[in-house]
């Protein structure tokens, strides 16, 4: 046997080795926990253990009922028990292939167990381990908990993990390819509990409906695709798992905040009176801080489901007439609310703000380069309103929500203090920009800007029609023009009663 044969046959065996990297899913802690470990090992251990104990790992999850997550629960009663096998009568049919779920026996003094398998034909539940005494009296109540979380975890790992990461930190294996496209938003890091496109008020978490909508519709113009073909139950299970991951991340974040005095200083040295602080924060006060963090997180996510926290317009949409759009335009460029400072006079997302150095909103230090950033410190650009992409949805309701409550975790703030009518005017204007243009000339004609100061139209037609007619559809006339040339709309003659402000830069 020559060396060549040896090498050839050995190289043929390499797939064995490659495949051996059996992908063990593990939750990854925030990198600040490692930093904390350099000064206080106790504190870092407490965080790690606390999270592991109350949330588990992707292969061994914990259903902690303090969290407002629908883990999936099936109730029933025990008919008879022998050793590790129980005959049960369940109130609802469990999903096929139920296994490894948590079992709670009894209500007075509940005992925990793990179900290995359920046989629907004989209605027998096989337990793999039980706490305490193994005899279960007939008539004991039984709860099977966790099938929805299992389904969510499985589906998440299959469909979402590669971008959003095992821990939901937006750092999955494919996330770095998105990072190469500089201005595309990175996959969402759930650990702050912030989601951008929601229907809830400012300061409130995203509701389940919002998450469902994002999964089903995708986010147009980003790398978040639409999962329209996924079944409703599957989407719901994924939503629960995402909320679970978000809550875990938020609890971790709050704990790190609580332990912040123990973090090393900027030059790497431990803080003064470390021992005393350690005792106060990481030993004596840790359990309380953990409980406080969890209850706050649970409360915020519960509040997100309340209908009072939805942004709902109090009046129907103002009719989408040219007059309304003109009002919207005036508001857009006014200094009262300063839309154009970010979105630009022409709505192209190139406003003056982008040339300024912004401050990190947490540390108040300047960012190194000019431009806007979101709460994850990634560079973002204001929406180019001419692009006909509306990430949060293009219904008037969606745009109204953006204008009212802003986009969470970004510099786009809400204008809830503006009257509803004004906000509808802005909505009408914004929705018209991709179609008719961002600028208005002195005759109230919309156009796309460019070299001409106003839309080219036939001056010989009298401006006689009094009604505010909206722009006609171009399907009936030759409308063959590139985007930069002004639109030619001979039939469009609105009344000039409401003169728009001249569409020149106002300084």
């Amino acid at each position: 046997m020559t060396p060549r044969h040896l090498i050839l046959s050995l190289t043929a065996l390499w797939p064995l080795v490659v495949g051996c990297a059996d992908y063990q899913a593990e939750f990854v802690n925030d990198q600040r926990v490692e930093q904390l470990a350099t000064t206080s090992e106790i504190a870092a251990d407490n965080i790690r253990n606390g999270l592991a104990e109350h949330f588990g790992s992707p292969n061994a999850l914990v259903a902690w009922d303090v969290l407002p997550v629908d883990f999936g629960e099936i109730t029933g009663t025990v008919l008879s028990a022998s050793d590790n096998s129980l005959r049960v009568s369940l109130d609802t049919d469990p999903p096929a292939g139920l296994s490894q779920v948590a079992v709670v026996l009894g209500t007075e003094t509940p005992r925990n167990a793990t179900a290995a398998a359920y046989d629907a034909a004989t209605r027998t539940l096989t337990l793999v381990q039980q706490d305490g005494d193994a005899t279960t009296a007939p008539g004991t109540s039984i709860r099977l908990i966790g099938h929805n979380l299992q389904a969510g975890r499985r589906l998440y790992m299959q469909h979402c993990m590669h971008c959003h990461g095992v821990t939901g930190d937006g750092n999955g294996p494919t996330a770095r390819y998105i990072a190469n496209h500089r201005l595309n938003p990175l996959p969402r890091d759930y650990r702050r509990g912030l989601f951008k496109f929601t229907s809830t008020k400012n300061g409130i978490r995203a509701s389940r409906d919002d998450l469902r909508r994002t999964i089903k519709q995708g986010l147009a113009g980003t790398y978040m695709p639409s999962f329209l073909m996924m079944k409703v139950e599957e989407v719901d299970a994924i939503v629960e798992y995402i909320r679970f991951l978000a809550m875990r991340g938020e609890v971790e974040r709050k704990l790190l905040d609580h332990l912040k005095p123990l973090m090393p200083r900027a030059d790497g040295t431990p803080p003064g009176d470390l021992k005393a602080l350690e005792k106060e924060l990481a030993v004596d006060g840790f359990a309380e801080a953990f409980a406080d963090a969890t209850s706050l997180v649970a409360e915020t996510w519960t509040k997100a489901e309340e209908t009072t926290n939805l942004v709902t317009p109090t009046m129907p949409r103002v009719p989408d007439t040219v007059a309304s759009r003109i009002k919207g335009r005036n508001l857009f460029i006014s200094t009262k609310i300063n839309c154009a400072k970010c979105h630009g006079e022409g709505g192209r997302g190139n406003g003056g703000f982008l040339n300024e150095i912004q401050k990190n909103r947490e540390t108040q230090q300047n960012y190194p380069t000019p431009g806007l950033r979101d709460d994850w410190h990634n560079m973002i650009r204001p929406r180019n309103l001419t692009a006909d992409i509306f990430r949060g949805g293009r219904r008037p309701l969606d745009v109204f929500r953006r204008v009212t409550a802003g986009v969470k975790a970004t510099p786009m703030a809400g204008f809830a203090a503006l009257p509803s009518e004004d906000r509808w005017h802005i909505v009408n204007y914004v929705l018209s920009i991709p179609i008719d243009g961002a600028f208005f000339d002195e005759h109230g004609h919309q156009y796309h800007g460019g070299d001409n100061p106003h839309a080219a139209h036939d001056h010989s037609h009298p401006h006689a029609k009094p009604a505010d007619k909206p722009a006609d559809k171009p399907a009936d006339k030759p409308a063959d023009k590139p985007a930069d040339k002004p639109a030619d709309k001979p039939a469009d003659k609105p009344a000039t009663a409401t003169k728009p402000e001249p569409a020149k830069d106002k300084k």
Partner: protein, 287 residues
């Protein structure tokens, strides 16, 4: 003994192949869409396939039968030596001309289907009737299908108007993702674009497949004559999510009604129920 073994070996597998082929339709291992395409052109493509299948089956049985016979005959006689043949010129001519003829026949027979599918569909687009068949513009992007319909009731009278509509968003356009409605029993035109890389618009049940090239707007023509929902998949490897780039094409009787439903949902302002008339006409005067 081993000769009998190899003889049987090479006889069994062709028989298995023929049996599998024969029971395939019953076992639903055959064409998607329950063996019948949902478009007339698709049905013609299927017919072509069956034609070729028939020709090939006959050839297969003939050649495999000959092979089996030869093997069996040779296995009987242990002592006979193989005789050296100088070839047979006649035989060579026969088995060149006959297959050539068969192939030529197939080539000519299918020209019409190819012409309809790939050539004539893209001709005469300036014909005034053709642009009016536009149903939607489908933009393939990683990893979804973004769809834009013209406003309900829009009729494009010239190709120029159609091109103008394709070039830019227009008032009343309806946007959707991954779910495409097409009319039943009416010629349908889809313009296919790509937002990033190459994709391929593949609806197996309709026997429609067209690659989406970035920078190009490609017309796809078909007529669906069976109501129902059909899988839309991507057939050109476009990235890590290629496998899940699934959509659905649904052929409906009344497309306009569906589009109006979608439009009402798209115009929802949070207060007025979708479909209820707003206080004043909000600007979509249907021509």
């Amino acid at each position: 003994m081993s000769r009998i073994f190899w003889c049987l070996f090479f006889t069994v597998w062709p028989i298995v192949a023929i049996v599998v082929c024969a029971i395939a339709p019953a076992m639903d291992w055959a064409f998607p869409g329950n063996r019948e395409a949902a478009t007339p052109l698709g049905q013609r493509i299927d017919d072509l396939f069956y034609l070729i299948l028939g020709i090939v089956t006959v050839t297969f049985i003939a050649t495999m039968g000959a092979l089996a016979y030869v093997l069996w005959k040779g296995s009987k006689n242990e002592d006979e030596k193989g005789w050296f043949s100088h070839g047979s010129h006649n035989l060579e001519v026969i088995w060149t001309i006959v297959p050539a003829g068969v192939l030529l026949f197939i080539a000519l027979y299918q020209i019409d289907v190819w012409a309809i599918y790939r050539v004539r569909a893209h001709e005469n687009l300036e014909d005034t009737a053709r642009p009016s068949h536009l149903v939607a513009e489908v933009t393939a992007r990683q990893f979804e299908w973004r769809i834009r319909y013209p406003a309900p009731g829009t009729k494009f009278k010239t190709y120029k108007q159609l091109k103008a509509w394709l070039a830019r968003p227009h008032a009343g356009d309806i946007y959707a993702v991954n779910k495409l409605f097409v009319p039943l029993n009416r010629e349908t035109l889809i313009y296919l674009k790509s937002a990033d890389v190459q994709h391929s618009f593949f609806v197996p049940d309709l026997r429609v497949k067209q690659d989406a090239m970035p920078g190009q707007s490609i017309d796809i023509w078909f007529t669906v004559n069976k109501a129902g929902k059909f899988n839309l998949t991507c057939a050109e490897l476009c990235g890590w999510g290629h496998y899940k780039m699934r959509g659905e094409v649904e052929a409906v009787e009344d497309l306009q009604a569906r589009l109006i439903e979608l439009k009402n949902l798209q115009d929802y302002d949070g207060v007025t129920p979708p479909g209820a008339a707003p206080a004043e006409a909000s600007g979509e005067a249907t021509p």
